[in-house]
Amino acid sequence: MSAQAGRQPETEVVPGPAVHPGNPVTVDRYTAGARINHWITATCLVLLALSGLALFHPSLFFLTGLFGGGETTRILHPWIGVVLFVSFIGLFVRFWHLNLWRGADTTWIARLGKVLGNRDHEDPELVEIGKYNAGQKIVFWGMSILIIVLIASGFVIWDQYFSQYTSITQKRVAVLVHAIAAIIIICVWIVHVYAAIWVRGTIGAMTRGQVTGGWAWRHHRKWLKDLVTGRPSS
């Protein structure tokens, strides 16, 4: 088996043969670096959501207690945002190439009902999925765009260091954009987390770095076939 041959275009390459015989077969999905990168980003995102929601709605102000009070929440939130942004750049560089939109993704979206009905594996056009399906790609690009919007609007309202660079009118728009983008990214995050729970066997990919062969066969068959045959994956 020549699993590593011909996979140069991938940025997120699993070194060595990725498919391990056994019962069940196991498949390497994420390198340790990718997993650490992911969990740093994930931790930041959760902390940002908690601290941001605390300042977004009075009924959630009590969440500031997790950060040592309102003042420290206000101080920490933007810094966590900077860490997330830098960390997410790492994820973006690793995964953007695998998230480019393909024709099959449009079919997947058109037949979302089958996917949500747990019947996607019955449709021959919905099983030949690469490393990411259309839903995962939407989460990826949604996160990417929203994180850029959030960091940009965040700097405008980071008054302690940047208040002199923008007008009050610009700050008002920025604070509204920041709130709306944050709401959307939390919704995207809910989809991301729920999908990982709903599709059993997924979470191991981001903890141990592996999935079973059956999981790959069921949800990302083209990716599995490419790993086995050594074709470039997409």
Partner: protein
Amino acid sequence: MFPPLPNPDVKASARFGEQDIVRRSASTVAAPARQLTPVAKLIDVSKCIGCKACQSACQEWNDLREDVGENHGVYDNPLDLTENSLTVMRFTEWVNPDTSNLEWLIRKDGCMHCADPGCLKACPAPGAIVQYSNGIVDFDHDKCIGCGYCLKGCPFNIPRFTQVEHKAHKCTLCSDRLAMGQAPACAKACPTQAIVFGTKDEMKDWADIRIKDLKARGFENAGLYDPPGVGGTHVMYVLQHADKPEIYAGLPKDPRISPVVEIWKGVTKYAGLAAMGAFAVFGVLHHLVMGPNRVSREDERQAKELAEGPQ
């Protein structure tokens, strides 16, 4: 001549306090048992001589010291409000196009104590901004978290932040002095009675007298600045040219809380929580109805066959 300001005994107990709060930032309060008489400060721009006694009195009473500044070639000093200068005189040299006269317009800038305060609406910290039933809008620095939202909510660009703690400061209308029956420090120091203080009704009546006087002197458009867009204010101006407030160093003609702030603190807050809740509920319902998407034994068998050849 406005009657001299009273100077009562300050050993008495406070005349108002927490029990008189009608609005509290990021929280709700029960309606107070009593309604205090609304108060107001009336600033008669036509009587101001620009001596800055009010600025000095403000710093003195609030124990603030402005940094030694630089001469910028204008009378304004400092050039803008700061965390140490809660009020500043803004000087404008304006040539009246009707008379070709140079008019020196000197406006004492500072918190207007809006009846509908944008700062309070924007503030996310419970109790950091309060409004008393006499109209005073006050900041509680112990509860302030320094986020700067009040400045975004304010239609007059008033709050300023300390450098280190980044806490918001503004004119308190000398709420501490008022509680003891004393007038604001600026009003007490003003040598020409350009600043007078009393109940809001008294101030409106006094303004009427002043406006009649100004009209008799040829200022046809003299009037009171008590902008309805923010529900009226508890700091009011008598302006010689009330039809053109913007000539007074940019006093807004029709100030109101920005619609962007209204959307942010209104529909966004509720629609946002609803959207996040809807996504979470969808997940729970989907899982209850459709159940998990599990890998079957057949899937594992197919994968094994692909990876290791026919079994």
